[in-house]
């Protein structure tokens, strides 16, 4: 199941796209299959990453908690969609369908400053 999910992840979001200096941001998006919120989140994230110039490079893992419930337990997913930007010291967490593009841009900007 997880294989299927990661396949889908690659299909939806652009694959790893390293920046010139090799820096990239790691993102995890937890969704619940094709619920309206989850679909909107995927679209919104995709659009933001495409449009947003600050992002040096990015890697997105898409996790469907309905398909991979174990992952929901281990990663302690509470709401869907949840976007987590993995940093070396801390994580940034955003919940919702990412329809607030200003907030999403803010998160990506903050994630880009992780080094």
């Amino acid at each position: 199941m997880s294989v299927k999910a990661s396949k889908r992840a690659r299909a939806v979001v652009s694959p790893a796209n390293s920046g010139a200096d090799g820096r990239e941001i790691c993102l995890k998006l937890y969704i619940a299959s094709t619920t309206p919120n989850s679909e909107r989140a995927k679209t919104n994230l995709d659009a933001a990453l495409r449009d947003f110039s600050v992002v040096p490079g990015y890697r997105v893992e898409l996790i469907d908690v309905l398909a991979d419930a174990k992952r929901a337990v281990t990663d302690n997913v509470i709401v869907t969609p949840t976007l987590v930007a993995i940093g070396p010291k801390r994580h940034l967490v955003m919940i919702g369908d990412l329809s607030d593009s200003d907030k999403l841009h803010g998160l990506l900007k903050a994630a880009a400053t992780f080094s």
Binding site: V65, A69, V73, I78, T80, V93, M94, I95
Partner: protein
């Protein structure tokens, strides 16, 4: 318009998922909170959603935890506790003061799940709880969990900031619970900051099958907790607010449904420890009955109560002595001074003593402590001294609790004695002073009688159901050898006690002696009179006899005379004939002229 139509259809889809058209009678699952299971006739609805609503500190989480724990302990059902507000270690710490904890329970039996969002979580748009439900589904499958608690879910869904979205998520949870066949509790805060808080609380009340409200209110300075079942779909329930307390084992509820039937009935009499009291009660108290002992301070109520306890222990029975505001040591020492040895019975384990403080504890808390004592000690005799300690507080359930206490004792066949502190008001005013008097089988009242600068105790049996009893006032005497009842002096329209009685009794003895002497004197006088009269009677009889004799003699003399007269007449006739014969005889003429 199109948008709203779409929302409605989505809502309907979410709502209808997992619904079964079958209508089964409601099944219930006990919470382990005995009083609650009683008022709901079995506990919470199985595979349904129950809302526990209350302000902060009212015991919502505790109620839910107790439910989970009971399911695990009694039915071996694993449970999930999802906390949205408090970290897991704080949930554990909150129950650390109780006589149970989670420390010994493995994680796969009772899982505490932290469902708090990270502190700096940014919200960007609408979300749903599918992630949580997916995780819970996985855990349920792994553990075989049957019960689930969502503790403080309003904190999470309120951040949706949209009434429709909140409603949708609640419906999603409701559907999940039904589809998974879980029995669930949703705890919800009741204090409302805004209109939407109120709307959410209302919505949750509509959505759930059972709503339990935990409330607290101050009465003067006394805090009284109550629990109320607001609704229960498909079931009967007692809708009244019932007193609740948080004690050592968590929430306890005191249902105010008193059955008043199925009490064990005994004919056996038990001694009060005061033989004279037993006598006027026609053989003592009836076993399993309730006794109210009322009176002003210092009227030996505690002594009479201790006497009953000591007598019971002396017979080999068990007794429990609950005192308010007086320590065990103090009572034992006081009773020793009047010859009642309680220490011996405490040492043998027959007598259990418990001291409670009446202020700072609600009557329901005290009641639960007494319940606990009864459960542990299993006494034959229960004494609460004074029972009126319950009554004097401003707590709203005092009278009900006192009644529950009597009911508890009756239902277990325990002889109950409660003392009641009453003022100096005398007579019938006392009758309405205490509610318990109506359910007490025997009511003994001890009052002070002040006479001639002295206070004495007067004991009366106001009532005694089902037994003969004296209706006379007795004087209660406390001596170094114990308690005794003394017949009082009744006379001259007065009841005399104490030294007035003694004085009166002495006075009476003196009068009696005097009377005796006078009686003897009178008797002597009478004797003399009679003797005199008898002598006189004798003399008269003799006189009578002599008179009679005289009369007889007279009579016989008369007879002689009349005979002589007749003879003389006859003689005269003869002589006349002779004279006729000799007409001019001179002697004959002289005789006629002499007449």
């Amino acid at each position: 318009m199109r948008k709203s139509a779409k929302r409605v259809s989505e809502l309907r889809r979410v709502r209808n998922r997992g619904r079964t058209p079958k209508h089964q009678p409601i099944r219930k699952k006990p919470t382990g909170i005995a009083g609650f299971d009683q008022i709901t006739d079995g506990g919470l609805p199985v595979s349904r959603l129950t809302a526990v609503i209350g302000g902060p500190g009212m015991g919502k989480s505790l109620f839910a935890l107790q439910f989970l724990l009971n399911g695990l302990r009694t039915a071996g059902e694993p449970g999930l506790f999802v906390t949205f507000e408090e970290p897991v270690d704080r949930v554990r710490a909150n129950v650390a003061g109780l006589d149970w904890s989670f420390d010994s329970i493995p994680e796969n039996q009772l899982a505490l799940i932290d469902a708090r969002l990270p502190a700096d979580t940014v919200q960007a748009g609408a979300f749903d709880v599918s992630g949580l439900l997916a995780a819970l589904t996985a855990r349920k499958a792994a553990m075989g969990a049957c019960n689930v608690v969502f503790d403080g879910i309003d904190l999470l869904i309120s951040s949706l900031n949209d009434e429709y979205l909140e409603r949708r998520e609640l419906a999603r949870i409701d559907d999940w619970i039904r589809a998974e066949g879980m029995t669930a509790i949703l705890t919800v805060k009741s204090y409302s900051m805004s209109d939407r808080d109120q709307k959410r609380a209302d919505l949750i009340q509509y959505l759930t099958d059972c709503v339990v409200r935990l409330e607290g209110k101050l009465f003067d300075a006394n805090f009284s907790r109550t629990l109320r079942v607001v609704k229960y779909r498909g079931s009967n329930f007692a809708p009244d607010a019932v007193p609740m307390a948080i004690g050592h084992s968590g929430i306890e509820v005191v249902p105010n449904q008193i059955s008043r039937d199925n009490y064990p009935v005994f004919l056996e009499r038990i001694s009060s420890g005061v033989p004279r009291l037993d006598a006027i009660l026609d053989g003592g108290f009836t076993r399993g009955s309730s006794i109210l002992l009322s009176g002003a301070p210092g009227t030996a109520k505690t002594s009479l109560a201790a006497s009953l306890a000591a007598a019971g222990c002396g017979r080999g029975q068990k007794a429990a002595f609950v005192s308010f505001d007086e320590s065990d040591v103090q009572i034992i020492a006081n009773m020793k001074s009047i010859g009642i040895d309680l220490r011996r019975h405490v040492a043998s384990g027959r007598l259990a003593m418990m001291s409670l403080r009446s202020n700072g504890h609600s009557p329901e808390e005290c009641f639960l402590k007494i319940c606990d004592l009864v459960r542990r000690h299993k006494p034959d005799i229960l004494i609460v001294d004074p029972l009126s300690a319950f009554m004097e507080t401003a707590y709203p359930f005092a009278a009900i609790i006192a009644e529950s206490l009597v009911d508890l004792a009756k239902s277990k066949g325990i002889t109950f004695l409660g003392t009641s502190l009453l003022g100096q008001a005398a007579g019938e005013v006392e009758a309405s002073a205490i509610h318990v008097s109506t359910i007490a089988d025997t009511w003994i009242h001890v009052s002070y009688v002040v006479q001639n600068g002295e206070r004495n105790r007067a004991l009366t049996i106001v009532k005694s159901r089902g037994t003969g009893h004296s209706n006379q006032v007795r004087e209660l005497a406390l001596t170094g050898k114990g308690i005794d009842l003394v017949d009082v002096y009744v006379g001259d329209g007065k009841v005399l006690l104490g030294s007035a009685r003694l004085e009166k009794q002495q006075l009476e003895t003196r009068d009696e002696r005097l009377e005796e002497v006078q009686r003897a004197h009178r008797k002597f006088e009478f004797g003399r009179g009679i003797a005199e009269l008898q002598a006189r009677a004798q003399a008269i009889v003799q006189e009578l006899a002599s008179k009679r004799r005289e009369a007889q003699l007279e009579e016989s003399a008369e007879k002689v005379r009349s005979v002589a007269r007749r003879e003389a007449i006859t003689q005269r006739g003869l002589s006349r004939r002779l004279a006729d014969d000799s007409r001019f005889h001179p002697r004959h003429k002289k005789q006629r002229a002499g007449r």
